[in-house]
Symmetry: C3
Subunit: 334 residues, 3 copies
């Protein structure tokens, strides 16, 4: 494995091997596995778990890291090609990224969706431009439409909770004050599809996931023996659900139009996950969320603090899975 | 010792042992004592000495650290319980902190007083909420009403300067353009009380330290054979003083009311410590301040640059005392 | 060597030894050379390469580092002496820097020119004030009128490209939306002079480098067998050029007057380096720039992406040269 940028680009065996490695590193630490190795981290957007788990993953394996926040202590970076750079950005990623890559052994990059042009974001134009500039192992720390590190931690969480491979996995939209990117819902959907689950996407009208994302997931589901369907009917979707994976995202019916998005979401504040959502769910149905989550906006206190919640386990699993990815990318065989 | 959050919570013997350990680490470095250990640092507020001394303390003992600044590169965090989170904060400490604690071996948190409600701040409501979420060794890097790391460094400074245990320690208010928290004056007062000193709190009318802080210090002083009194008379307070500990803080008579505080402090610009303050002090009376200090506002250039000043020694002592605290919390016996 | 603050302060032999050491560390890594050593980094201004190369240099040599950004997570710092500090700065460098120096083994400081008073900036008043406070090895990470780390990397780049010692080195002004400091043009000029090159400074009227900088470089050139001249005639300057070193800087004719500077530079947008600049240059003439560079503003895409460009090599050379400087300052002989 040279890059970890999209779970869909890896053979299923490699994903399973990463999960196996993550489990092994939990029980058998390798405090010198990456001695002398350096991970460069470039965050165009805020981070808590990704930042902390990447830095601690390197430390737990004997390596080190550095962090660049473009626009905060470092130059604001341009990502578009061919631009006359007379605006706010002092530097282009074409200069910045190959240099940073030359200093380290692997580079991780976070660059959220611009949220203006759906085709641009789905094509991963920005992340793809950057990835093409880097000749070192690369990790996608969340791009416009993907978050493979989160997806890997989510998969491990399902395994840790002994959720059967063929269980019913409901990916539900939840309310948020403004439009958020599609990266996590797309990644979670694909992960569940790859795992072979019975997947239901539950979202209000106007918030359907883009056809390209759905189609790609359908193919993965078909190959893994699972299924994908979508609905806006909450009761039917949640009936018999084994896992409710909650996520906020923007209206795809009017992508990039904040005013229209605000109008669409205004009446949807009841899409805050409360205990009564689970009336017809399977006994022991678990709730997942990648975090950060707004309490009593997307999910109620009672659900987050109750026994259904797997959000802590998901977040904690970011560390062993990040360690597995870095180990796989950087470990020099002895 | 599992937590270092308040000097008053530790038996006096443990405090003395930390001071002894700090001295030992100065003369006998242990560059591998914390090999493989990770300290997570969460700063809700700015820092210079605490940030740098924590990071270097881990490095000097063979460990590592990471830093999270909520709202600056990381999500803004909510600390209140039961809130509908539709404002600026994207995440709650209930989610964020247990996760960060799971990645590291000890967590340090800085969260200044909100400065609106005295009872809330004195009760350490915010820090207490966060501390209750963490099942790892925890260090208070300055909370609403406490700064035990500073207090420990101050104690070591008094020892290094051979200031007798029973010497006269004057804690004096000083001028500042706006209200500052009570954490350092409370911590310095308690430290001097625990040390058994003859403590005088010198402050203008309206700036008395809260009764709860005074009472707690009086009990510690009584147990250690020292004493506490307070006054607004500068000349009498400074007569025979062996140490002048200078600190700026907000008016407690109108806590949380910035306009009233500004009116109260406006005529007090002569509370800038100048050489003539020491006319009747003991020969060799030293000046202490936790830093940062505003020159010629709280303390004059002449005093800060003169032979009385112990501010550099105090600040330098942050490193060995921080090393002692971390060593005590994290060292696995061989 | 105790300090690396100005290439001109080092005997030529020491500069050559640093270049030799940089090459040796490229081919013969020393992953434990600085084990246990700590570099403190204080950035008053943004950084990408300097920040990342300093941190990775320490990691590659087995050491560690910490970063302080005054005003961003740390207190805003005052540098002027004798001031009544009732403004934005909470702390003075007289307190902050000796403390930070006490925590680490070497300190690096970046403090750009204030850009208001040419004499103040040329005298390195701010950096000099700070340097005088520090009793540890010190690295200038770019001061008002100097950037020795960049100059060393540039020199190594010329060596790596086998540019003859006596080749024709043209330092050219380029367009930028606003006035930038003189540090890099001054450092590049001096480096080429020290190397013994035939140096031509090409700049529009009003942008001549200050006489003090030119004179100091002329002396270095004379000692090294090279030469310095300046012109505003692009065609004659570039004729036979072996290297074009491009840099943006502010108008020295009206230093500190932003409106006058803007008027002077407004008609100069054709000072964007394009391929036609090289019509009469030597075959294989290389283009250098310290980065960050604004594409199609200072240098065109075609030039930056074409075979003349050495900007990546320059930036990559920041790592081995930074390692050499740190090794020289901090290595304890075995």
């Amino acid at each position: 494995m040279k890059r970890f940028v999209d779970l869909a680009q890896l053979p299923r065996d490699e994903v399973l091997a990463l999960l196996e490695l993550a489990r092994r590193l939990e029980s058998h630490p390798e405090p010198q596995a990456l001695a002398g190795k350096i991970l460069g981290l470039v965050f165009f957007n805020p981070s808590l778990r990704t930042l902390a788990s990447c830095q601690t993953a390197m430390l737990r394996l004997g390596g080190g890291s550095f962090v660049i926040n473009p626009g905060q202590g470092s130059w604001q970076l341009e990502t578009r090609d061919g631009v006359v750079m007379d605006g706010a950005a002092a530097e282009h990623v074409r200069e910045a990224l190959p240099v940073l890559a030359s200093y380290c052994d692997a580079l991780g990059i976070r660059a959220f969706a611009a949220g203006r042009d759906l085709a641009h974001d789905l094509a991963e134009t920005t992340f793809g431009t950057m990835a093409a500039l880097i000749d070192k192992p690369l990790i996608n720390l969340e791009s416009a439409a993907n978050h493979p590190c989160q997806a890997l931690a989510d998969w491990k969480t399902l395994d840790d909770l002994a959720v059967p491979r063929t269980a019913r996995f409901v990916l539900s939209w939840a309310w948020h004050p403004r439009a958020l990117p599609l990266a996590v819902p797309a990644a979670a959907l694909h992960m569940a599809a790859l795992r072979g689950m019975e997947v239901i996407v539950l979202r209000p009208e106007g918030f359907a996931l883009p056809p390209a994302i759905m189609e790609r997931a359908r193919q993965a589901a078909a190959a893994a023996g699972g299924s994908i369907r979508e609905t806006s009917e909450r009761a039917s979707a949640l009936k018999g659900a084994d896992v409710l994976y909650v996520k906020e995202w923007g209206a795809t019916a009017c992508y990039g139009d904040n005013a229209a998005d605000a109008r669409l979401r205004a009446p949807l504040t009841d899409w805050c996950v409360r205990e009564d959502w689970f009336a017809a769910a399977a006994a022991g149905c678990r709730v997942m969320h990648c975090l950060p989550v707004r309490r009593n906006t997307a999910i109620s206190d009672a659900v987050l603090d109750g026994p259904r919640s797997a959000v802590q386990l998901e977040a904690r699993n970011r560390l062993p899975t990040q360690m597995a990815v870095l180990h796989q990318l950087l470990r020099t065989p002895p």
